[in-house]
């Protein structure tokens, strides 16, 4: 009798903990009603604000910014050649994205054509960097000899500003897409390698020990512990790689080539077309932010247990 009683009380202790996490059940029905009403009233306002409040603030903030811009530009304090109106910039951007280029234009091609060209170069370069970088990083993390052999080159290349290589690759390959893709790949490669490598190296020892105790083979440990642990690191590496690749592609296009957003910026500068130049710059900001947002969402979807990733 006594025995059973003791057990149930212990079960109760655990049961309570479980119940606490699920609901807070008030005891007095009247106070419950009152509380409920207040909470519901608060919820309808607070809930909407919680959900969309920050977006509203951002939109209002941006509208104010562009209105100030417009007023400032129209006031004529700064020459329009250097500082166009916001409306002019948006107009150029809209036209450039929606209409095809007239055949007699000074600058060949519309914004949209150059945008697609740049995105293509960027995505080919980053894809190549992933295909090379992820396996290389995983191997470096998993094998001490590979790590010993490759790490001086990885650190060397990672610390060298890749832009310094642009003249060399122009020499090798000329003003070609190949040259641009090579620069993007090299720029995106090293953050990807280093993150994958770090992910494998920092896999929690206790997780590996647990897997071993429960009978995991070497392959099991790699597939079921190290890889899932490293996945968010790889995504963070790719995120950084896209950022670096973006810089690289613009610089490669500014240096040489007759296509792409980088080329368009130089052409806009050469022809004193400030509206076009600002439109391209704004477009670059939007593209970069979208990439960050998308990879961030992928990261949260794949590894909700790891909200912050190092490096």
């Amino acid at each position: 009798m006594e025995l059973g009683k003791g057990r149930s009380s212990v079960r109760g202790a655990w049961g309570r903990i479980v119940a606490d996490t699920e609901t807070n059940t008030p005891t007095d029905p009247k106070s419950f009603e009152d509380k409920d009403r207040i909470r519901t009233a608060g919820f309808s306002v607070g809930g909407l604000w919680d959900q969309y409040g920050s977006h509203v603030v951002t939109v209002v903030n941006l509208i104010c910014f562009f209105i100030l811009w417009e007023v400032f530009a129209r006031s004529g304090v700064v020459n329009k050649v250097f500082f166009p109106t916001a409306s002019g910039m948006f107009g150029t951007l809209w036209e450039g994205l929606t209409r095809s280029a007239p055949p007699d234009a000074i600058i060949s091609g519309q914004i949209i054509d150059h945008l697609l060209y740049t995105l293509r170069t960027l995505s080919i370069g980053v894809t190549l960097a992933c295909l090379l970088g992820v396996p290389a990083g995983l191997l470096m993390g998993g094998n001490r000899y590979v790590e010993k052999i490759l790490s001086p080159y990885v650190w060397g290349m990672a610390s060298l500003p890749r832009i310094a290589l642009v003249p060399l690759f122009i020499l090798f390959m000329g003003f070609t897409v190949k040259m641009q893709i090579t620069i993007v790949t090299l720029s995106a490669l090293f953050p990807i390698v280093i993150n994958a490598w770090a992910g494998v190296k920092t896999t929690e020892k206790s997780l590996i020990a647990a897997a071993k105790v429960f009978g995991a083979s070497r392959t099991n440990i790699y597939v079921h512990v190290v890889l899932p642990y490293t996945l968010p690191f790889i995504i963070a590496g790719i995120q950084q790689g896209i950022g670096r690749g973006m810089v690289a592609v613009i610089i490669a296009e500014i240096f040489g080539g007759s296509n792409g957003l980088g080329f368009l910026i130089t052409r806009a500068a050469d022809t004193f077309n400030s509206e076009l130049m600002y439109a391209v710059l704004l477009l670059l900001v939007i593209i970069s932010l979208s990439f960050i947002k998308i990879t961030r969402m992928i990261e949260i979807y794949i590894a909700p247990w790891r909200q912050q990733v190092v490096m």
């Binding site: 025995l3 212990v10 049961g15 903990i17 996490t21 020990a209 647990a210 105790v213 642990y229 909700p304």
Partner: protein
Amino acid sequence: MFLDVTGRDDASTNSGDHRGTQQPLIVAKNMTVGYKLHRERKLLTALRDITLTVNRGEFVCLLGPSGCGKTTFINAISGIVLPWEGTIEVDGAPVTGPGPDRAMVFQDYALMPWRTVESNIRMPFEFQKLGMSKQQIDERVERYLDLVELKGFEKSYPYELSGGMRQRVGIARALATEPTILLADEPFAAIDAMTREAMQSELERFVTKTRQTVVFITHSIDEAITLGDRIVVISRRPGRIKEVLDVNLPRPRFDQDVKSLPAYSELRERIWSLVKDEALSGAHGEE
């Protein structure tokens, strides 16, 4: 000072309070274990010349200061480290690696964060070939989810649970394959005091039911006395066995207030006198 207790005439073994039998299950003979420190390129002896026998069905607590090699001891039993000298045998065969007859509960839970509660408990069945059908495994997982009262949390991820709940997943994972030996490495050290008491009593209940042999590491004297049939006191590194003490307190201990018994405080005092110097030197940062 090294006690081989297999052949001893122990009255408590027959009194019914003691869970152990007279059959030796884990036998360590003059075992020395350590590990390589990669960074400093040297070998570190964690345990020196350990001779100890754990009988089938016994609950043995290893008690000692931090860094005394307690964890290395159960790692040696589990087979993830192998002895440098001497031998360690489980059920008559030398330990050559991990096996399904041994399972472990970890201090930091060591749950795979990308697996759900249910999937974590299922993990050992995926790695070990136990010859069970999918249906049998499902039943087993369900039964142990139920045992640790985590029904309704099957699809939760560890990061969504409290520390106590996470360790219940860890316990369920270790018990689900129904191993002969349960190894526990300070499993409740990171859990708040009230939940810890509840979990200690639950653990006593589980292993009483399953008749498992338990080797339990702790640095809490009270935890060692309330859980163990025997307490092995280990000295500071390199760890040696200082003393082996029997705990002759009635079971189940959590249903009775064993802490108020005179035998309890006597034992507590005795253990404290054994570990006092080391605990104090540890507090002053001496190695």
